[in-house]
């Protein structure tokens, strides 16, 4: 049913730490690896070794250069996957009922057996979180690794999304945003976690934790006057000679 549940008991989602993310793309690979053999059809690639390769990924990592008004420019890596929106426009536009949001935990999923591959849900998503599988003609999106997080066949520590498990810097956190005491809720509250494009009214569940404040150059150089000692004697001579070469 593509009408949205009025309330979800849990709000499972990710808190993504833009401070720690180093842009290594491990989550991209982990996600593709797991979901290639998990929920639904495999994530196909077209022409993977050719001149113009293309394929489906449920998670992509961008890199941005950000120039603050004062201080040095920063590189900020920016993972982008489904935000499991509370008011998900991708769900309500679906004509077949293939797209749905689960009332129990808020995960947004596609029932591939009912998907006609019209692509309308991908248009409706402002975040580019849905990609059509060119081989199977069905819509693919992040499942929040629904086949891991409840999977009793996996050891306890693996019952979290592949991207979270695979991240070497611990930049992705998984949990329940409906519970104010959960790890992700507390992290988000402490670090000023924010939603993407909230004015579009999608009410995303995922939160992005902004990079921590960086040192600005003049703060970093409190010792600068001490380092600026004029060399004299032999050191001074060496300094002058080397400076001329």
């Amino acid at each position: 049913m593509t009408t949205l549940p009025t309330h979800t008991e849990k709000k499972l989602g990710l808190a993504i730490d833009l401070d720690t993310c180093v842009g290594c793309q491990a989550c991209v690979t982990a996600c593709k690896g797991w979901n290639d053999q998990g929920y639904g059809v495999p994530l196909s690639d077209q022409n993977p070794y050719g001149a113009d390769p293309s394929g489906v990924f449920l998670n992509r990592v961008h890199s941005y250069a950000v120039q603050p008004i004062d201080g040095a420019a920063q590189t900020i890596n920016f993972p982008r996957s489904c935000l499991h929106c509370d008011d998900a426009p991708c769900v309500t536009v679906c004509p077949t009922g293939a797209s749905y949001k689960r009332a129990e935990d808020g995960i947004v999923l596609v029932n591939e057996d009912a998907c006609i591959g019209c692509g309308l849900c991908a248009w409706a998503c402002p975040y580019g979180a849905r990609e059509m599988d060119a081989a199977a003609g069905v819509m693919k999106k992040c499942t929040l690794c629904v086949d891991r997080i409840y999977n009793e066949n996996l050891p306890e520590e693996d019952r979290e999304p592949a991207c979270v498990r695979g991240c070497p810097t611990g930049a992705r956190h998984f949990g329940d945003f409906a519970d104010p005491d959960s790890k992700v809720s507390r992290l988000s509250a402490e670090r000023g976690g924010y939603a993407l494009m909230p004015d579009l009214g999608t009410k995303p569940v995922n939160r992005y934790l902004p990079p921590r404040k960086k040192d600005v150059p003049y703060e970093a150089s409190v010792l600068a006057p001490l380092l600026d000692i004029k060399a004299s004697g032999f050191a001074g001579w060496l300094d002058r000679v080397l400076g001329k070469i």
């Binding site: 949205l4 833009l18 293309s54 950000v66 536009v93 077949t96 006609i116 990609e131």
Partner: protein, 289 residues
Amino acid sequence: MHPAPSVILFSVLSGAGFGLLFYLGFGLAHPSGWAAFLWWGLGYALAVIGLSASTFHLGNPQRALLAFSQWRSSWLSREAWTSVAALVLLAPMALSDWLGLGLPRGFGWPGAVLALGTVFTTSMIYAQIKAVPRWHLWLTPVMFLTFALAGGAVLAGQSFAPVLLAVLLVVLLAIWQVGDGQFARRAQTLGTATGLDRIGTVTVFEQAHTAGNYLLREMIFVVGRKHAQKLRGLAMVLTCLLPAVALAISTGWWAFVAAAVCHITGALAARWLFFAEAEHVVGLFYGKR
């Protein structure tokens, strides 16, 4: 947005077809005998060809029947219902006109209303998408409905067709004028999309992937916009001006055919622009629109 030929063809042909069926259903045009067969046949053919063209871009058209299930929330599903309902409800009227059964004209009215309703549901599929600011506009349904009414009037040989073509011209100018500023009015930038504007000015340092993907192909269509102004001019001349002139100077069959062909060709150009010029906010993440 990627201007898929199947979708352009679908929306133009079925729009004109349902427009024609609207006039036939309401009895504003009431041919009889074999003329009725031809006119109703044209309306049905355009509508059905259009609808079947729309299945060409589906990944799994064999499941298309499922698209009738979600009318509560989905405009695409509502379109499926209204189109089929219109075609079914108009059938007795069409038969009556053809075979001279003398059914009261009122029988055609519900179908006529649904024919326009179908065009409205089609337009709402686009107008509902907030992520495409140029489409998310009340002018979008107005434009689709005017297209159907004007195109239908041309095809139905209505004497007031030139007036509706003039109205269509105004609507086109309005939607282009307002549409051009829509993205800016939404005030979304790479900075707001990523939320990184709270730190500073954001530019793309490195793309997320070196090769193309579905998003870039489907939603971040940037080729061909440079000729947009010329195409707009062409669309106005072909869609509105030439047909209006042809219909004004002659009532002969050649004027009718020329007007119809010109109008549909122009409509295809205008619909191509409707897609090609529409920018999806996801392009912001890629620093492209």
